[in-house]
């Protein structure tokens, strides 16, 4: 489904970034999510793929968006991948060093337009699991837990999940609901999930394949995932990120 092999993005000599399949895959998922962001929005950014979404938003698609991290860092320029929400690389580009209470309060007040999250699993209800997984051998694997994921999911005006294309991550019912898609008040909850081939919306309360890259196949994708999703009648075909964007992703991810 993904024709962008490593050889397509061989280094041009100036940039020393080795473009791997992994980078391409992350760039595709992040670009799909970043297209959902509108300019001037305030984004609450989780660690991992969400940071690349924020980077694409800020540096290309929505240059006036405001980035907030759960550590309390605000008005951040996200130029290289942070390993934690308090990493020095983002602390040094933040225009405000607030507290965790400050930024979670912003969430609770309804001032976060979009929460950007990843998770171990997402299900057809839009619930997210970051707590435990059962391996094929039946062993329970304990994951690091919610962190702020539960809170972001309940309190952001809208949540966009970003996931790798691993089919074990898309399920009908997550094993453990860490972050329930039960938003507070009239907030929107989990609006959709972006992955390296496509974007599913939850507009009807169930996943609908809404957008797909021109080099991916909708039926094959829907088939490959472990969940009951439908293909939208108005499926939008999106051009995948190209050389320049992939390079950008490579540079961004280099330090992680």
């Amino acid at each position: 489904m993904n024709p962008n092999t490593e050889s397509n993005y061989k280094n041009n000599g100036l940039e020393k970034t080795l473009i791997t399949e992994e980078i391409i895959s992350q760039a595709r998922a992040a670009f799909m999510a970043a297209r959902e962001i509108r300019d001037h929005q305030t984004l609450f950014v989780g660690i991992g793929l969400p940071c690349l979404v924020a980077h694409f938003s800020q540096s290309i698609l929505s240059p006036s968006c405001h980035l907030v991290f759960e550590s309390g860092l605000m008005e951040v320029s996200c130029e290289t991948q942070p390993l934690s929400t308090a990493s020095a690389n983002i602390a040094k580009t933040a225009k405000m060093h607030g507290s965790m209470l400050d930024v979670f309060s912003m969430l609770q007040r309804g001032e976060i337009d979009v929460g950007l999250l990843s998770a171990a699993q997402i299900d057809i209800h839009g619930h997210l699991n970051s707590s435990r997984l059962t391996t094929k051998s039946g062993k329970t694997l304990s994951l690091p837990g919610s962190g702020g994921a539960h809170d972001i999911t309940v309190l952001a005006n809208k949540v966009i999940a970003v996931m790798p294309s691993d089919p074990r991550r898309f399920v009908n019912n997550v094993e453990f609901i860490t972050s329930p898609n039960n938003p507070y008040g009239n907030r929107e909850g989990v609006a959709g999930v972006a992955m390296p081939d496509a974007y599913f919306s939850f507009d009807t309360g169930r996943p609908i394949l809404q957008k797909i890259y021109s080099d991916s196949d909708a039926d094959a994708l829907n088939e490959s995932l472990n969940w009951d999703s439908q293909i939208s009648d108005n499926l939008e075909i999106v051009n995948p990120p190209e050389g320049n964007l992939i390079e950008k992703a490579g540079i961004f991810l280099k330090n992680s």
């Binding site: 550590s71 507290s99 707590s131 702020g148 609901i177 039960n182 992680s256």
Partner: protein, 291 residues
């Protein structure tokens, strides 16, 4: 004048008692490793640690047998993965893990800071955590009758933190990313603080906006350069990324964990001795000016 300046050894001995509830300062930044080393070295036990997420410092305290209970929103190695040590301790029944969310932990500490019994919030009303989390109770808003979760106050016995500097009275200055440090410290009965530098009062008076902790709660001030190593301290030193990268492997089984604990804590009389055992020029390379 009460003399608050002391060694980590004295401070831990004097102010951290078995069965205490202990708040851990720092968040990704300014994590109080030196004080934690001393807690492990003194074999304190049955401690209840409360914190949103304390990075791999949790691992140190759990591996050292100091923790009987952990109340947190997250545990693991940031950006790398889960905690082998905590998972093993929970599996073997040595550790009770109260999983929560970061915001619930903050709200509970903030209620403690405010001196109120609880703060209402809509979080943890649904999902599987809602059924298992400690310290919350469903209630109705007396004005609107809408249902909220009351998040009950946490007031730890003692907070351990690392900061850039303090004067001898305990006017502690901390900057950079503060996370939940201030909430947790103010909620606690007393604060034990290690700092890079002990400065004159005059320096504090030039920058009172950097003072983050009220001196009357600071029980001990410990001069400990690199006291947050291997985490970073804004304007002082960078994070030792390779330490974190190797940590998951270094703790992958009990044998390796014990060796890690021995070589980093038990082989040393104090944190300075540990720092001296680090590879040549490592600390110099981590200087903030190189970042």
């Amino acid at each position: 004048m009460i003399d608050k300046v002391m060694s980590a050894q004295q401070a831990v001995k004097k102010y951290i008692h078995n069965s205490n509830t202990v708040f851990i300062g720092g968040f990704g930044h300014a994590i109080p490793f030196a004080i934690a080393h001393e807690i492990v070295r003194q074999k304190k036990h049955s401690l209840h640690f409360v914190k949103t997420g304390a990075d791999i410092l949790f691992d140190l305290l759990v591996a050292g047998g100091c923790a009987s209970r952990l109340s947190c929103g997250w545990y693991g190695n940031p950006g790398i993965g889960m905690s082998n040590i905590i998972n093993r301790a929970v599996d073997s029944g040595k550790l009770v893990l109260n999983e929560s969310t970061n915001f619930s932990m903050i709200l509970r500490l903030h209620a403690g800071k405010l001196g109120v019994p609880f703060i209402p919030s809509p979080i943890l009303a649904n999902g599987d955590l809602a059924n298992s989390v400690d310290g919350i109770k469903t209630m109705k808003c007396p004005f609107t009758e809408v249902q909220y979760q009351a998040h009950s106050a946490l007031n730890p016995d003692v907070a351990i933190i690392h900061a850039q500097r303090s004067d001898m009275d305990g006017n502690v200055q901390l900057w950079g990313s503060v996370g939940d440090t201030i909430e947790g410290c103010e909620a606690s009965q007393k604060i034990i603080c290690s700092v890079e530098e002990i400065c004159e009062k005059e320096e504090i008076l030039l920058s009172p906006h950097l003072t983050k902790l009220p001196a009357h709660k600071v029980a001990a001030v410990i001069k400990q350069p690199f006291g947050a190593y291997p985490s970073y301290l804004h304007d002082y030193y960078q994070r030792d990324e390779s330490y974190y990268a190797e940590h998951t492997v270094n703790t992958k089984d009990n044998l390796k964990s014990d060796e890690w604990l021995r070589s980093s804590v038990f082989d040393h009389d104090d944190f300075d001795s540990y720092l001296k055992s680090l590879p040549d020029k490592l600390l110099a390379k981590l200087a903030w000016s190189n970042s």
